[in-house]
């Protein structure tokens, strides 16, 4: 290959990569603009709102700085070597001086990494200790989260509340810390609880009890999802954590503790609920439905979403969900109920009374 060709290729490569870089930048900017953080916040791990996630973020900056520095040093050496020591026509036909190695240099570039590793280890160990071995204050809210294929069950044993998919926790003000301590269990396969802005992942493993904790500093809805592959619908096993002000949280707990609302206008739908397979999996307080395979529906309408966050909790979605769950979440364990249109409407009407 002649030098002409070499030049040509280098120019082409440089141009192609230049164009790609510009294209990337434009598209990235466009993407950032179109994303609307208000309706559906970006679960960015560098935008934490809770102590564990904040310690991890601070720690990650430290790790990023060190690795960035190493990157710069090594890449400069590499670029320098590639540019400086390329074969030139001037020296053709000659071999460079043959060098076998140098004990000193090799010792130096062994010990410096060892020191860096040592520092990184110490820094990491302290963060691990701080997050994992945090003491539970008396004011903590305790929640048992149980992973199911493909939804979340939340039990507040001290408050007597059972809900699904949307976790409600009080905001934790540094002066009066009310962190939430979660006990993580699984009913079937492995899952992982991950709300990036609140804490790192902790798995939910059958026949094993795990723990994690969060203390959100700011109210709002935080999203996340199951982060351990758990079967067909792993992709739509979404998580929503609603961080409420203390008053809102108390009101929510109060509302959840109420028995199910029984509106006579929806008694037809209730009869459908109680006489079909619904009750095998779902519970509604005060009815003969006590199943635990599916989410507790006693206060279904207090939730914004259905099917573990896969769809908004609207009339149409509810109806579709019972008629043909595969349209929303193919492969979920909710069977198509094969109800007549009349029964379906009655049932939806009934469910819509469960506030």
């Amino acid at each position: 290959m002649t030098n002409m060709h070499k030049m040509e290729w280098r120019v082409v490569a440089a141009r192609v990569s230049g164009i790609l870089v510009i294209l990337t930048g434009v598209l990235l900017a466009a993407g950032m603009c179109t994303a609307s953080p208000h309706d559906n916040p970006v679960p960015n791990i560098f935008d934490p709102r809770s102590t564990p996630a904040e310690s991890i973020r601070d720690h990650s900056y430290f790790v990023l700085a060190i690795t960035g520095l190493i990157f710069l040093v090594v890449i400069s050496l590499l670029v320098y070597a590639v540019v400086k020591f390329r074969d030139k026509p001037l020296t053709a036909g000659r071999e460079p001086a043959q060098v076998y190695g140098s004990t000193q240099i090799e010792l130096a570039w062994t010990i410096i990494p060892v020191l860096i590793v040592f520092v990184l280890f110490l820094a990491t160990a302290r963060v691990i200790h701080a997050i994992e071995d945090a003491r539970k204050p008396a004011t903590a809210v305790e929640v048992t989260a149980i992973g199911h294929q493909f939804w979340w069950e939340y039990r507040y044993p001290a408050l007597g509340v059972v809900t699904a998919n949307e976790l409600h926790v009080p905001v934790s003000d540094p002066a009066h810390a009310t962190p939430t301590f979660l006990t993580l269990l699984s009913a079937d396969t492995d899952h992982s609880f991950w709300v990036p802005q609140l804490a790192g992942k902790t798995d939910l493993i059958p026949n094993r009890v795990n723990h994690t904790w969060i203390d959100p500093h700011q109210t709002g809805v935080y999203v996340g999802q199951c982060a351990q592959y758990c079967g067909t619908q792993h992709g739509k096993m979404l998580l929503r954590v609603s961080v409420d002000s203390p008053e809102e949280f108390a009101a929510w707990v109060q509302a959840q503790k109420q028995p199910a609302n029984h509106d006579d206008k929806a008694s037809a739908g209730r009869r459908v609920f109680e006489t079909t397979a619904c009750i095998n999996c779902h519970a509604v307080g005060g009815t003969n439905g006590t199943g635990r395979f599916g989410p507790d529906l006693t206060h279904l309408m207090s939730r914004d979403t259905i099917a573990a966050g896969a769809a908004l909790n609207t009339h149409e979605n509810l109806r579709l969900w019972m008629q043909n769950p595969d349209a929303i979440k193919p492969g979920s364990l909710m069977p198509a109920m094969k109800l007549s249109d009349a029964d379906l409407d009655a049932l939806v009407r009934y469910l819509e009374t469960l506030r």
């Binding site: 060098v99 004990t103 010792l107 130096a108 701080a130 945090a134």
Partner: protein, 290 residues
């Protein structure tokens, strides 16, 4: 440009035989593998597949056995004449400018032995510890103060100890501190041993002053992350002073070691019999070359 080396063959042609025995081709390993796989495949499909697999596997075993017993079956391959000349376009080999008169640079090993670095590090660690404890005595009247601060690297933010706790003795904490101190000191000492000869003009200035000051600057920027407790209590003047004490003592000890290089001080790699000719670092020479 190619230069043919007239007689440089791997081996004299007189020793090349006319024919060579190589292991004979055989289908039995394939039959056995197929049988074996089918035996397992039967678990996935139907038992009859396993039966077929077992038959094939047994046939394969017997066939294979007969290939190697009592003697391995071989076949004869005629040797084809090959052009085995070894050529190169690059006949000239450049020399390191530092030793142009030698055929190949084989410079004397002038590195400090590994033990020098370790000794320097340990000596430096003592100097540093003495200074730090002196600081503790002057500041709070307790030598345990700096030791506890050093070990505070393991404390979580929620467990930051009180002033009284910082001034008293804790066995576990003491062990952690000693361990940290010794490991770090030894490693830095080793680094001194390795790097001082590369910058041999003013080793004590470099190792005793510039190194510790750079090192302290680095720590200054990361102390808040690495050891927040220490970071909040630290007296940087004393800290830098103790680092310099380490550097000066370690540097002096390392330099003194080099004056009497003995066989025992040869690095482990050489003592282990691994051939590692010590050559000057290439980076210094690469740049000087035209």
């Amino acid at each position: 440009m190619a230069m043919l080396l007239p007689t440089e063959h791997i081996e004299q042609s007189s020793r090349v035989p006319r024919e060579i025995e190589v292991p004979a081709s055989t289908a039995w390993p394939l039959v056995l593998a197929l049988g074996f796989t089918l035996m397992f495949a039967g678990l996935l499909t139907s038992a009859s597949v396993s039966v077929l697999g077992a038959v094939l596997a047994i046939a394969g075993c017997v066939g294979w056995f007969r290939e190697v017993f009592p003697h391995e079956h071989e076949e004869i391959v005629q040797v084809v004449p090959e052009d085995l000349s070894v050529t190169t376009e690059r006949r000239l080999v450049e020399r390191l400018p530092v030793a142009p008169e030698q055929v190949r640079a084989w410079l004397p090993l002038e590195t400090y032995p590994i033990s020098a670095g370790v000794k320097g590090g340990l000596a430096g660690s003592v100097a540093m510890a003495v200074l730090a404890c002196l600081y503790g005595l002057l500041k709070t009247g307790s030598i345990w103060y700096p030791i506890n601060l050093l070990a505070a690297v393991v404390y979580a933010p929620s467990e930051v100890p009180s002033a009284a706790e910082l001034n008293s003795f804790h066995g576990g904490i003491f062990l952690i501190a000693v361990l940290l101190h010794l490991v770090t000191s030894t490693l830095v000492g080793l680094l001194y041993g390795a790097m001082l000869p590369m910058f041999a003009h003013r080793p004590i200035v470099l190792g005793g002053l510039i190194g510790p000051v750079l090192w302290s600057g680095l720590l200054y920027s990361i102390m808040g992350i690495l050891n927040p407790t220490l970071g909040s209590h630290i007296d940087w003047v004393w800290f830098v002073a103790s680092q310099v004490a380490f550097g000066v003592v370690a540097g002096i000890v390392v330099m003194r070691q080099s004056r009497v290089p003995t066989r025992e001080n040869v690095p482990f790699a050489l003592r282990a019999g691994i051939e590692a000719p010590g050559v000057m670092p290439p980076r210094e020479n690469g740049e000087k070359r035209p």
